[in-house]
């Protein structure tokens, strides 16, 4: 949520933030969606609320809280607020700490374990890939590592979404400056070609690593067959699910992953009280959810 879009928003005055209704809205959002804002970042939440407040003509945070809790269309309003909160999070290489953790900690760990069993193939899944920024980021990352620690390995990425329009855009792989804002010139040069004056298109080499598919995460029959994943990325998707559905998806993810695999969520998302089988693992600047290998004994694994 601390994105470029956020910077463009006027910071509400400190006085406004003292309104206890903001804390109640924060807690409501955390309880319903798992997205958390620390007290110091309440100004971001207030900014996002301000946009919705002016649309629904709520004059005070307390009045807006009522829209979120007591009005007939509260579920719709909550979804619209969540959209506001997560807006601007869709661009490539959005989380450098996550890439560093993959490069320096997670890949070495997974490669070592798989090599020991004679495997040389990696499977990644971007679940809820939206317009494709995440799977293309992962594809670039893997290709960059293919000359280094991934030499001799093969890999593929499954990218799924429920929305056909998003999937079509993802398959086309055409992006403007916003999506590419954190992609270096070197990477743009290697993995993109000019599309029109303002946009670039992913090369066939990049696209060839990704298989796009329409998957509803609540579709048990389809979820059951997606096995053997090393890494699953599911960013800001579960926030729209109710607790029961979230728990079901997490059960699927757990069995979709190979032992030793990781699940990554959005940077402000939490699985607190949703799932207790995954182990929350901290890496510098980012957290992931780990499915321990059979026979894992607690005691740290630095």
């Amino acid at each position: 949520m601390e994105t470029g879009t956020a910077k463009a928003i006027t910071k509400p005055q400190a006085e406004d933030l003292k309104d206890p209704a903001y804390l109640k809205i924060r807690d409501l959002i955390y309880q319903v969606s798992g997205i958390y804002q620390s007290e110091e970042k309440l100004y971001l939440l207030a900014s996002r609320c301000a946009r919705r407040m002016s649309t629904v003509k709520a004059n005070t945070p307390a009045e807006y809280l009522e829209h979120l809790t007591a009005r007939g269309n509260r579920e719709v309003e909550l979804r619209l607020l969540l959209n506001e909160i997560t807006i601007g999070e869709t661009y490539m290489f959005r989380s450098p700490p996550q890439m560093e953790a993959l490069r320096n900690v997670i890949l070495p760990q997974i490669l070592q374990a798989k090599s020991a069993m004679g495997f040389k193939r990696l499977h990644l899944w971007s679940a809820g890939c939206s317009t494709g920024e995440e799977p293309y980021t992962l594809a670039m990352f893997l290709l960059e590592e293919s000359a280094k620690q991934l030499a001799g390995w093969t890999f593929d990425i499954l990218a799924t979404d429920l929305n056909d329009n998003s999937l079509a855009a993802a398959k086309a792989g055409i992006y403007g400056e916003y999506a590419l804002r954190s992609t270096t010139e070197a990477l743009r040069g290697r993995y993109f070609k000019p599309h029109d004056e303002k946009r670039l298109q992913a090369t066939d080499q990049l696209k060839s690593l990704i298989r796009f598919d329409r998957v509803n995460l609540s579709d048990d029959s389809k979820m059951t067959f997606l096995k053997g994943m090393d890494l699953i990325f599911c960013c800001n998707v579960l926030i729209y699910f109710d607790l029961g559905s979230k728990r079901k998806v997490m059960q699927h993810f757990y069995s979709n992953l190979l032992p030793g695999g990781y699940l990554f969520l959005g940077h402000a998302e939490s699985l607190y009280q949703v799932d207790d089988r995954f182990h929350l693992v901290h890496f510098p600047g980012t957290i992931g959810y780990w499915k321990p290998p059979v026979g894992y004994v607690a005691g740290g694994k630095r």
């Binding site: 804002q37 620390s38 182990h279 929350l280 890496f283 510098p284 600047g285 894992y296 607690a298 005691g299």
Partner: protein, 300 residues
């Protein structure tokens, strides 16, 4: 004679160094007394002994990290934050003084961001799990890396190389210390902590915060600081370089040991605590910059 014995005399000689504030001794004995036995006047006197340190203390006390107070005198700072917090702040300011501004290996700002971060996280976790003395947790978090200051003074050149090696290898500082120096900041810190007559539980934190399972006393406090130390290093409040590590905090032995004493830890929302630490990061940086940046501390 092993390497730690070689630097032992240097550590004991620290006392004679002009950089060690004379108030350290009365302060350490005061830190061991319960707040109700400490006379407010005595603390005011100690803080006011040195105008630079007094100014630093007030700047620190006025940080939004400690609430929205604005205090202009030591007395009002004590009333707002409590005696124990002011004592801890004073101790931090004294320790900062023992390394001359141009002699830091791990620079002062990085060191104090980590120390302050660890103090705040230890204190916050203590409150969340029901540990009875959150102020002691704060002080222990603040002082746990005392040995880094000791190494900086006792063997600056070797320590510089050691830090460089840790930075290049993305590895934990204590691992490189063991390889390069033959001892770690836990061991050297313990010598100074004992020499200055820190309480037994603080000595245990200094000595065992990287090996909490071996602590002979104060096991919960040592475990608490161990976990806070890890959390800070994992949230950009570490030693100023990338440490390649993935830590299952709830799988740490220290976590299990702490849960035995404080079952509330088992249901603590760790993801939320992590995001709260991120939230306070900006303020920690601002506060440390304002208080401990060498150029500023010299010109109060």
């Amino acid at each position: 004679m092993n390497q730690i014995d070689q630097i032992r005399p240097k550590i004991k000689a620290l006392e004679a160094m002009p950089t060690v504030p004379t108030i350290v001794h009365p302060l350490t004995s005061m830190l061991q007394q319960p707040a109700e036995q400490v006379r407010l006047e005595k603390v005011v006197e100690l803080v006011s002994y040195d105008s630079t340190i007094a100014a630093q203390c007030l700047r620190m006390a006025n940080s939004p990290l400690f609430g929205r107070h604005h205090t202009e005198t030591v007395r009002s700072a004590i009333l707002a934050l409590g005696l124990k917090r002011i004592e801890a702040i004073l101790m931090g300011c004294c320790l900062n003084r023992i390394v001359p501004p141009d002699k830091w290996v791990l620079d002062a700002v990085t060191f104090w961001r980590h120390a302050l971060g660890c103090a705040l996280v230890s204190c916050k976790m203590a409150k969340l799990i029901g540990y009875p003395d959150p102020e002691k947790a704060y002080l222990a978090g603040l002082l746990h890396d005392l040995g880094i200051l000791v190494n900086t003074i006792a063997c600056p050149e070797e320590y510089r190389r050691c830090l460089q090696s840790a930075r290049e290898g993305y590895v934990a500082l204590d691992r490189c210390e063991a390889e390069h120096l033959g001892f770690t900041h836990s061991e050297s810190g313990k010598i100074l902590a004992e020499h200055w007559k820190f309480s037994a539980d603080l000595v245990a934190v200094v000595e065992f915060h990287h090996a909490p399972g071996s602590a002979p006393v104060a096991a919960p406090l040592v475990s608490l600081v161990h976990l806070s130390d890890l959390l800070c290093r994992l949230r950009d409040l570490g030693y100023g370089y990338y440490e390649a590590m993935g830590v299952d905090l709830a799988g740490e032995d220290a976590w299990a040991a702490l849960v035995e004493h404080y079952p509330a830890l088992a249901s603590m929302d760790l993801a939320r605590l992590t995001m709260d630490i991120d939230g306070t990061m900006e303020e920690i940086i601002t506060t440390v910059d304002a208080v401990f940046k060498p150029a500023q501390s010299a010109t109060v």
